[in-house]
């Protein structure tokens, strides 16, 4: 709830609050404060029905950039109850959905065989969808990361570089601005993504990218946003974690080993440990998600050029290194490993799109296999999305299943329990099923239109069709893609 409180505070005009040792001080309606219910159903707490008298306290999210919170805070200011919370969440959900939809349009427009469609579905993991539906900047950040890579790949290194349409530039700039503004780690993720896609970073490369007027305006907007974000970070220090560690200080070796030991958990969290970081899906769901994603990266490394490999290394290696360094630098202050898998998703999800693009560009996949892969992604990812919601709802409504007596089927029934969402338990499930079916049908049909022999986005590595002297693709044309619904079934 710390994010909801920050949103309420920003909507009240208290944008730069007085700093506290942990976070910043703020005054919000007392009923908005709620605590977690470890192991128990959400019924352990009243549903924000208490008195709305203001109280002043130190909010751990109080220093965060107001950019995200200003977008979702108004309903909380007007209705500091569950109604306001749900409305604020729906605003947040709509913004993330808009970005993911823009990413899909970009992928469909520029992915040679629409192989990137499957990568998009694997990039939007259950925890990304979960966070996007909550009051938390993390979900918007991940959606922005996915939209940034989906649009920046064709814009900076793909077939749209010479004559980019305005909408593509807009998607890239908007997603980049959101990425750089919503969380303090955003500038790092944007720098990694931008650097990877601009390699080799020569004056000629920069001139080529900046040739279209729309791109120059976009860069100007991004620079202003970057300066604003940097000033906020310098003044408010949102990344400063201050606490008293209950442990003895760890030396460098212990930090390194300890960090390594967090990764089995982090890789699960990339897919989705939901609830209050205490709710897991059926274990094979993680493997069904992780193995194809890892295979995508490995195949891209295998078939990619040297430059492709460096790009992937910058994005994936840079993300892991940055997260590990930040985590190790904080643990002696706060006494726990604070990094969560979702923090890494803005760039790691983008890396999947980059990998799919590399595989397509190197001609390492045929149209038929690309179509099959995208449809396989639909079959694998969408049911797991529903499963994540089901186990999470069961957790909130019934608590964590105990080992004794052993859980049975009803322990995972999302329709029963001592607590229910305000709209009931059936409506969220119906919404999820409707959305997933629509996405499934959409992606299935789009995959059918993916094999287009008229695509002129030449593969790299083919004599006469590869890179120019700067190492960038020398593209002579644009993809000819069919409109949705009019492409012939394959």
């Amino acid at each position: 709830m710390s994010h909801a409180l920050r949103a309420c505070q920003v909507a009240s005009g208290d944008i730069m609050p007085e700093l506290a040792p942990r976070g910043a001080y703020q005054s919000v309606p007392k009923n908005l404060r709620s605590e977690h219910c470890p192991l128990e159903p959400r019924a352990c707490q009243a549903d924000l029905h208490g008195p709305q008298t203001p109280i002043r306290f130190a909010n751990s999210a109080g220093r965060y950039n107001p950019f995200y919170y200003a977008m979702v805070g108004a309903p909380l200011k007007i209705w500091p109850t569950m109604k306001g919370v749900v409305l604020a969440r729906l605003i947040s959900a709509a913004r993330a959905a808009a970005l993911l939809a823009a990413a899909l349009v970009s992928v469909v427009s520029y992915s040679r065989y629409r192989f990137m469609l499957g990568a998009l579905l694997f990039g939007a993991t259950p925890i990304a969808i979960n966070m996007a539906g909550a009051i938390n900047p993390s979900g918007l950040e991940i959606a922005a990361g996915i939209a940034f890579f989906a649009s920046a790949i064709p814009l900076l290194v793909g077939s749209a570089r010479e004559h980019p349409p305005t909408w593509l530039v807009c998607v890239t700039v908007v997603s980049a601005v959101i990425l750089v503004m919503v969380r303090s780690g955003g500038p790092i993720w944007l720098a990694l993504g931008g650097l990877a896609l601009l390699l080799p970073l020569t004056p000629r490369t920069v001139r080529q990218v900046l040739r279209p007027v729309a791109v120059r305006w976009g860069v100007l907007v991004l620079v202003v946003a970057g300066i604003a974000s940097a000033l906020w970070i310098l003044i408010m220090k949102p990344g400063e974690i201050v606490g008293v560690s209950p442990f003895a200080l760890l030396n460098r070796g212990q930090l390194f080993i300890g960090e390594l030991m967090t990764w089995p958990s982090l890789t699960q969290q990339l897919v989705g440990i939901t609830g209050w970081l205490d709710t897991a899906m059926w274990p094979p769901a993680y493997q069904f998600w992780q193995y194809p994603a890892a295979a995508l990266l490995l195949v891209a490394l295998l078939v990619g050029s040297g430059l492709d490999r460096v790009r992937l290394l910058v994005v994936v290696g840079g993300t892991i290194a940055a997260a590990a360094i930040l985590d190790m630098s904080a643990v002696n202050k706060v006494g726990f490993w604070f990094a969560q898998g979702r923090y890494l998703l803005p760039t790691l999800s983008g890396a999947l799109l980059l990998a799919a693009w590399i595989i397509e560009r190197r001609g390492a996949i045929t149209a038929a296999y690309a179509r099959l892969s995208s449809r396989l992604a639909v079959v694998v990812t969408l049911p797991i999305q529903l499963h994540a919601l089901q186990v999470t709802m069961a957790r909130y409504q019934q608590g964590i299943p105990r080992s004794s007596p052993p859980p049975n089927l009803s322990s995972y029934n999302p329709l029963v329990g001592s607590w229910h969402p305000q709209v009931g338990s059936l409506l969220p499930l119906l919404c999820s099923v409707s959305g997933l079916v629509l996405l499934g049908v959409l992606c299935w049909r789009l995959a059918a239109g993916s094999a287009r022999p008229s695509v002129t986005d030449h593969a790299e590595g083919v004599p006469g069709e590869g890179s120019d002297s700067s190492g960038r693709e020398n593209l002579s044309g644009q993809p000819k893609l069919s409109a949705f619904g009019t492409a012939p079934a394959q």
Binding site: A97, L104, P428, L436
Partner: protein, 46 residues
């Protein structure tokens, strides 16, 4: 068969409009799909 060249300047205003409408329709469908999927979480969370 209708075709799109999203990255290439089109010759006529009509084809640009068709192109834009197809992309907009696709975006709207995807927006509703993602919106319902994400919105379900908004309704279900405590």
């Amino acid at each position: 068969m209708e075709s799109l060249s999203p990255g290439k300047p089109r010759k006529t205003g009509t084809s640009r409009a068709e192109n834009g409408m197809s992309l907009l329709r696709l975006w709207l469908l995807a927006f509703v799909g993602f919106g319902l999927t994400i919105g379900a979480w908004s309704l279900a969370l405590p």
